[in-house]
């Protein structure tokens, strides 16, 4: 069992942390340098977390459990206009990013209004590529309960809805609802607003843990982080990508920011030391985001083994 951990400390000697994680059989997912500070997202074997804690103490750094690490969340606003952005939707996306998630923020083309609200097939397919969707909706209970469900009723991934009122029941087709996060035209910084963001992060964390539990019933042939490591070692071009997260981990695979048309075969031919090639244990699909590719790892019930 790998524990998602976030390390925040100075750049000085931080390579010791990376070496320790690699020695323990964990994975470093992302390293962000901010002048003299560094933030490392990693997966550490559960039984060895204490070793990491000791090292962090020695280096005067802080480590926290970040349940959203290694997940890919999409935040969806009804449109990209100033009615919904930048406050609220961007703050929600940024807050989850700080908890370790990779977030994508989109505005729907025609998501506004009540009777006229709609989502296109392309937008729906894009949403289904992620682990979870957060819809940042508005102020009125009537809209939330009776009208806006058309946006997420056909989406397969769990949907979390945010809005202003406190609802006694979760709107139909949604997995969860978080209140006090409706249409707001200022930055979320007041006590109640930060509290609502914390609640959202907690709700999203719980749903993702449930998803992980669901996946563990029929485990994936390999861990997505293992695929990330092999891609980094066997396809050096990935290091030339300017994206902050060239490989975005998901619960069931990863999104690789390399052109699908050029690299599909190279990715499928990645070899694992246990023998199989990546093409045998995962499906490589085109992603809806630019020309990127999506890797979906097959479960044990399909391949018959776990590596």
């Amino acid at each position: 069992m790998l524990e998602p951990i976030m390390y925040e400390g100075g750049v000085f000697k931080h390579n010791l942390v990376i070496e320790l994680i690699e020695d323990l059989g964990g994975y470093v997912l992302q390293t962000n340098y901010m002048q003299t500070e560094v933030m490392i997202q990693m997966l550490c074997p559960h039984e060895d977390v204490s070793m990491l804690e000791d090292l962090a103490k020695e280096l005067r750094a802080k480590i926290t459990r970040a349940p959203l690490t290694g997940t890919d969340i999409i935040v969806i606003a009804p449109t990209l206009s100033y009615h919904h952005l930048p406050h609220h939707a961007c703050d929600v996306a940024e807050y989850m990013r700080r908890q370790g998630a990779n977030t994508t923020l989109i505005g729907l083309a025609r998501g506004v209004g009540r009777r006229i609200a709609q989502i296109s097939a392309k937008e729906r397919a894009l949403t289904d590529e992620h682990d979870l969707a957060v819809f940042t909706l508005g102020n009125f209970e009537d809209c939330l309960m009776n009208e806006k469900y058309v946006l997420y009723k056909d989406i397969e991934v769990p949907c979390v809805i945010t809005g202003t009122p406190e609802l006694s029941t979760t709107p139909a087709y949604a997995r969860a609802y978080v209140g006090h996060l409706g249409r707001i035209a200022h930055r979320l910084r007041n006590e109640g607003e930060i509290g609502a963001l914390d609640k959202l992060a907690e709700v999203v964390g719980t749903i993702l843990d449930e998803q992980r539990h669901e996946i563990s019933k029929d485990p994936l042939t390999t861990h997505p982080a293992r695929i990330m490591k092999e891609i980094k070692e066997q396809i050096p071009e990935i290091n030339k990508s300017l994206s902050p997260a060239p490989i975005t981990l998901q619960l069931m695979g990863a999104r690789v920011k390399l052109p699908y048309s050029q690299y599909k075969e190279a990715i499928e031919n990645i070899e694992f030391e246990e023998g199989p090639k990546l093409g045998e244990i995962a499906r490589v699909l085109p992603s809806g985001v630019r020309d990127y590719m999506l890797i979906r790892i097959l479960p044990k019930s399909v391949t018959g083994f776990v590596i």
Partner: protein, 206 residues
């Protein structure tokens, strides 16, 4: 009329009304319109659905003339020049644009930062007309900002709109369905009530 002496946001959904109150205050503050509006009454019914916005605008912002930003004098008769000594530099770009359009680029000079000279045959007449020229109209800018604020405040899906705007009042009805005549009547009633308040205040002051 004091700034925002009446500020009402009403809706059958009270939580929604409170949230809208906050959105409207934020938008008005962002666009520096808080002191421009005297009375504001917004009503939103998501079930109908309609959005009504009635506002009384505080008047008293005259257009800016050249004489407000500069002392206009005439030079010596032989120089054939009108001289502007600037007292306020805020509107110089508009002033220069206006003068160049009127008297030609080659006839306008700025020997130093706070002085402008205009060469013209009709010195006396020109100095008078220049002094009266309107170079900026804050009212117009406010109208533009107010229209922007309205579009930001109105629920985005409410794209069918009806508005009546005069110099001192603004009535706006929006919905995602066709506008019903009774909504407009309701808005007119609200506007009348807002204005009634202001008349009472005037008679009270007297």
């Amino acid at each position: 009329m004091k700034p925002l002496e009446v500020f009402k946001v009403e809706s059958p959904d009270e939580t929604g009304a409170e949230a809208y109150d906050s959105v409207i205050r934020d938008v008005l503050a962002d666009l520096e319109l808080t002191t421009v509006l005297g009375r504001l009454w917004v009503e939103i019914d998501p079930a109908e659905p309609f959005f009504i916005f009635c506002a009384l605008i505080r008047t008293g912002l005259p257009p800016i003339r050249v004489s407000d930003v500069a002392d206009v004098t005439t030079g010596t008769p032989s120089s054939k020049q009108v001289i502007l000594e600037l007292t306020n530099e805020e509107y110089v770009p508009q002033l220069l644009g206006r003068l160049r359009m009127e008297y030609g680029h080659e006839n306008i000079e700025q020997p130093d930062k706070k002085t402008m000279t205009i060469t013209t045959e009709e010195m006396a007449e020109a100095s008078k007309s220049i002094a009266d020229t309107i170079i900026a109209d804050p009212r117009r800018e406010i109208e533009v900002r107010l229209a922007d604020a309205l579009l930001r405040i109105t629920p985005e899906g409410f794209r069918v709109r009806h508005h009546v705007s005069t110099g001192s009042e603004m009535l706006f009805v929006a919905s995602e369905d066709a506008i019903q005549p009774e909504w407009i009547k309701r808005a007119e009633g609200m506007m009348a009530e807002l204005k009634e308040g202001s008349e009472m205040e005037v008679s009270g002051d007297a």
